[in-house]
């Protein structure tokens, strides 16, 4: 099977329909036996975080809000040990709360990570600007350590990188090396939620970063590519931590129809190259649900069905090229190619590639504008005309302005 054929749908099918057990290790299965005791840590599924020497339960705690200290204490009782925050969350209130809650517990009984954003970075593109300095980055780290009431973090991430240039940015490499040498960081990594495969491979190339915190979920248009890069990174000893595993948690923009979050979390953690995940936890119900995955990773039939249903309903970004659409298009448009351009733009964040593809197709302007009604039907229920209207604009933009 070629890389291109390794698409998201295939992954979901492989995992859900061909038997999750194949992808789950024997140790994980052994650990997934009925829960004898919620307090029994020996039942918790744990994995090594690359070469860092850190071992973590497969589900950790993404600290989202600064107003529920009781949740952190309860998480410890549930066997969670890893708590993830960021320098910028709530102007530092998030780190302050963690510091306050954990100030009196044995420091090596928990694993703390924080993410520091380079001072001069374009948050829209993830590009690092020339104003980024090692000194400023380390100053931010020191502020974070003070808020966290600790001398070191177990994982220090450079926050929100999206390309190779960012990962290999000299001032940032210098900063994280200094942080590690000085004992302020036990291990160093990068976080990414865009162009993840590029970032993962750049992390390997850096020979400095030891951990990558990456977004990954069952709805991702380029899931196959992400998993492939994760496998490469894991093979090189990079520890992988998953975020955005629940794909936003809702099926709709209005956030009224929740997805089966437990199923989505289990789906991601089937991949043994991923050490742990950091779902955001804001109430005790979520905590209990997430903690239960630490002891039982096997997808139930209902969870599998929910994921397949969701995948069909949301359609995702991947066009399967079935050509159900093409006979009905009065303009004879190459719809699968245009859907591919749409996927490049929104799945891969590669508008340049999308623009090149559209120009190769020789389409000028929005061809759908002349039709009063669209007769096209898509097997995946893509809103075809809307997506064409959206992506076709790139044809008029010179490639040097696209990234």
């Amino acid at each position: 099977m070629s890389g291109k054929e390794l698409n998201r749908r295939n992954f979901i099918k492989n995992t859900l329909l061909s038997g999750a057990g194949i992808l789950v290790s024997s140790s994980a299965l052994a650990n997934a036996l009925p829960d004898k005791s919620a307090k029994d840590d020996s039942l918790i599924i744990k994995r090594k975080l690359g070469k860092t020497g850190i071992v973590l339960p497969i589900v950790s705690f993404g600290v989202m809000r600064a107003d529920s200290p009781a949740l952190l204490k309860a998480a410890l009782e549930e066997g969670m040990v890893h708590f993830d925050t960021a320098h910028g969350y709530q102007n530092g209130k998030n780190e302050e709360m963690i510091g306050e809650v954990f100030k009196d517990i044995k420091r090596d009984s928990i694993v703390l990570s924080t993410k520091v954003q380079p001072e001069d970075s374009d948050r829209r593109t993830g590009k690092i600007g020339p104003g980024t300095t090692s000194k400023a980055f380390l100053e931010r780290l020191d502020i974070s350590l003070k808020r966290l009431k600790t001398d070191y973090v177990d994982i220090l991430y450079v926050h929100g990188l999206s390309d190779k240039e960012g990962v290999l940015f000299p001032a940032l490499l210098e900063a994280v090396e200094t942080a590690k040498k000085s004992g302020r960081a036990r291990s160093v990594g990068v976080s990414t939620h865009r162009n993840e495969p590029d970032v993962l491979r750049a992390a390997i190339e850096s020979r400095i970063f030891e951990v990558v915190l990456t977004s990954i979920n069952f709805k991702q248009g380029h899931l196959a590519e992400v998993k492939k890069a994760i496998a490469e990174a894991a093979k090189e000893g990079i520890g992988i931590i998953a975020m955005k595993t629940m794909a936003g948690g809702f099926q709709d923009k209005e956030r009224t129809i929740p997805i089966n979050c437990k199923a989505a979390l289990k789906f991601v953690m089937q991949d043994e190259n991923i050490t742990t995940s950091i779902p955001g936890i804001t109430n005790f119900d979520q905590l209990k649900m997430n903690a239960s995955v630490n002891r039982d990773l096997i997808l139930t039939d209902k969870e599998k069905a929910d994921l397949v249903l969701l995948d069909n309903k949301t359609g995702g970004l991947y066009c399967q090229g079935c050509h159900t659409c093409t006979p009905n298009c009065s303009k004879g448009l190459p719809i699968p190619d245009l859907m591919r351009a749409y996927m490049y733009t929104y799945g891969y964040n590669d508008a340049r590639q999308a623009g090149m593809l559209i120009n190769e197709l020789g389409i000028k302007g929005n061809p759908c504008r002349e039709c009063n009604e669209c007769n096209v039907t898509c097997a995946k229920n893509f809103p075809v005309a809307d997506r064409i209207a959206d992506v076709i604009r790139l044809a008029a933009v010179p490639s040097e302005f696209l990234s």
Partner: protein
């Protein structure tokens, strides 16, 4: 050069329709160049701009975010982010999650402050964040200048959300009010809550929750009771309950119609009763 100009012209032509709408949000300011981002961020892609911080904004009924940059030609660049929320209480809510009593507060919008490299304020259902990576007096003054222009445009509705008036004012710690739209104290059954810290004889927290109806309030109370062991629950009167919550400490909760309100972390019964009575009066 000519080709590049044409390219830019073509790019702007393509995008002008979209940009003109967004530009209306951002005031023109003498001496500053304004570059308005064509992309409007919504709940589906807020992550692209602010990473994991997006989750919290989504809890506060975030609608969209417009973004622009101001440059003065002298090396100062100010980024302007306008977060639109469903209503004023949500805009205040997300603002309140990021403020601190130690900040320097400004007469701007509903409330706002300046810190090194940033001015943040809420006004009506907007949360406005201005920031710069430049340091020093010039950059801080630039923030104030731009903030003032934004205030002229957005600072029309400068009132605090009316819900906050339910909180007694006596001994309330300044800048401690918060609006929590869900999961207050980690409980998923809690509906939106306004809360504040108090420093009377000893510090404690007070909250007021509006359920949809008196029946909903009863249901919420029942769920709170279910969350604790029976031996940790004591009924003080028809509508007053003392709860020893193993997660959140001592809570005295009371009910009045569709409202549930309570005092958390206060061991002085007289003090609790006094403040709950004050809330009851505010509800009338």
């Amino acid at each position: 050069m000519k080709y590049k100009f044409l390219c830019i012209f073509a790019l702007l032509s393509v995008l002008s329709g979209a940009v003109s709408g967004q530009a209306d949000f951002f005031p023109r300011i003498d001496g500053w160049n304004r570059a308005v981002e064509e992309k409007v961020y919504d709940a589906d892609n807020l992550w692209d701009l602010i990473d994991g911080a997006a989750d919290l904004f989504l809890e506060y009924s975030f609608i969209n975010l417009n973004f622009a940059r101001y440059t003065d030609g002298g090396g100062v660049e100010v980024r302007a982010e306008i977060y639109k929320h469903k209503n004023k209480i949500n805009a205040f809510g997300i603002y309140s999650q990021e403020r601190d009593a130690a900040y320097k507060y400004l007469q701007i919008g509903g409330q706002g402050y300046i810190v090194q490299g940033a001015v943040n304020f809420f006004a009506g259902n907007y949360y406005i964040k201005l920031s710069t990576i430049q340091k020093g007096e010039k950059a801080q003054n630039a923030l104030l200048t731009i903030a003032e222009e934004f205030n002229k445009k957005f600072g029309i509705d400068n009132d605090f959300p009316s819900e906050l008036a339910l909180l007694p004012s006596k001994a309330k710690i300044v800048y401690s009010e918060k609006y929590i739209p869900q999961n207050f104290l980690g409980y998923s059954f809690f509906k939106p809550v306004v809360t504040a810290r108090y420093n009377a004889a000893a510090p404690f927290t007070l909250f007021v929750m509006e359920a949809g109806s008196a029946e909903d309030a009863d249901k919420t109370l029942q769920e709170l009771f279910n969350a604790v062991n029976k031996e940790n629950l004591m009924q003080l009167s028809a509508e007053r309950f003392l709860i020893k919550d193993s997660q959140n400490g001592l809570i005295e909760a009371a009910k009045s119609g569709k409202y549930i309100f309570g005092v958390i972390g206060c061991s002085d019964e007289a003090e609790r009763r006094k403040y709950l009575t004050d809330v009851r009066l505010n509800l009338q």
